[in-house]
Amino acid sequence: MQTWIDALSWLNFGFLLKGLAVTLYISLVSIVLSFILGSVLGIIRYSKIKFISAAVGFVIDLVRNLPLLLIIFFTYFGMPKIGYRPSAITSAIIAMTIFESSMLAEIVRSGIQSVSEGQMEGARSTGMSFVQALWYIILPQAYRHMIPTIIGQFVSLIKDTSLATIIVVPELMQHAQVIYGQNANYIVPMFAALTLLYFIICFTLSMAGSYLHKHMAS
């Protein structure tokens, strides 16, 4: 019992929360960036613009079939070799954004395709441009269908930020390691704390997602 109390002292717990703040920061920035980039890529995939659409499709397939860890290594160890040396946090954000954008692009493309073709034809037949039809008619319907899947993807993203511990990003997982690195008896209490913190955040987000989905459907 005393081990648990010592392990989760105010000092240690505060240190964990600092890690949590970095985890949330990386997650939030990556979510915003990958939502924008993923939507643009998904729309390009759907639009079937010659060559561009196919090229984007190739890159998406490539990235989706790589381990995230490889992309993190590339941004952290690889990019300095080609002239850009980002900080560990920036590396993690770039890697998460590249990976999640390609996941979201496929979600967005299939979400758009799930809206019946008649909606697009109806809009285009009144003289609306492709972009107007997308903006006013197709995307609002598509995103409504996609909410649970997109939220699920964001939950994965938050969990995946723990991989950044390998390039020593001072995030939640990494800070836990620092603590139990000083005293091996703290391993189990630290894992318990990590379990609780990741669960609270991810589960809350999932619940918010289902609430939003139900709320918007009615």
């Binding site: 909606q119 809009a123 037949s125 009144t126 003289g127 609306m128 107007q132 319907q141 409504r144």
Partner: protein, 245 residues
């Protein structure tokens, strides 16, 4: 003055030859009905007129714009060419009023008050003023199609295309929709091209009937003459089968 001119138009879906050597001229103000068996190319033909389908050969002129020229602006063309679809295609995320007001607002930049006034007049004309705030999912098929007609009229088209407007409707809904189409086509200067299986209705509204079979334009005649006695054997067979029941 012609509104639509087909000159040797060809349409292919891959290797399938969907429209063969179509030659057809439709004058401004005419109401033309397009009939024929399933798969004869009626819908394909009507969809080439507002460029929802591309053509692979020949020349197609609609409202003085050359659709065989890839540079012709489809969006500009469609502002003058409305379309009513078999499955209505009302915007599922907009209420009835917004369905009608959207294109005038964002395509022709009509002032908001004028737009709303016009939309309410159109809804009144199709008998659905009380449904303005309903979502498409809350109204019946016949009502949806009447809203769709109002929506296409809101752009003040010079040409209106009807692609089997009553084929997806319950029998009791059909009549209300046909009444509205009749009102629309007879009252205005507008040109109409209608694909339909409703022969009684075709006889009543059309100046002219075009009969298609297997991608060919088989017969093109005055409506009265056509329904009395079609010239071609194929059209005679078709009519006898349809009218007998």
């Amino acid at each position: 003055m012609s509104m639509i001119e087909f000159h040797d138009v060809q349409k292919y879906y891959g290797k399938f030859h969907a429209l063969h050597d179509i030659n057809l001229e439709i004058d401004k103000g005419e109401t033309v009905v397009l009939i024929g068996p399933s798969g004869s190319g009626k819908s394909t033909l009507i969809r080439t007129v507002n460029r929802l389908e591309s053509i692979q050969g020949g020349k197609l002129i609609v409202n003085n714009q050359d659709l065989s020229n890839p540079k012709t602006d489809s969006n500009r063309l469609r502002q003058d060419v409305g379309m009513v679809f078999q499955h209505f295609n009302l915007y599922a995320n907009k209420n009835v009023l917004e369905n009608i007001m959207l294109a005038p607002r964002i395509v022709s930049h009509m002032p908001e008050e004028e737009n709303k006034k016009q939309a309410m007049e159109l809804l009144d004309m199709v008998g659905l003023a009380d449904k303005a705030q309903n979502m498409p999912a809350q109204i019946s098929g016949g009502q949806k199609q009447r809203v769709a007609i109002a929506r296409s009229l809101a752009m003040k088209p010079k040409l209106l295309l009807f692609d089997e407007p009553t084929s997806a409707l319950d029998p009791e809904m059909i009549d209300d929709v046909l009444q509205v189409i009749k009102k629309v086509t007879s009252a205005s200067e507008m040109t109409s091209l209608i694909v339909t299986h409703e022969m009684g209705f075709a006889k009543e509204v059309a100046n002219r009937v075009i009969f298609m079979d297997q991608g060919h334009l088989v017969e093109d005649d005055e409506s009265i003459a056509f329904f009395k006695q079609p010239k071609t054997v194929r059209a005679q067979q078709f009519l006898s089968k349809i009218i007998s029941h």
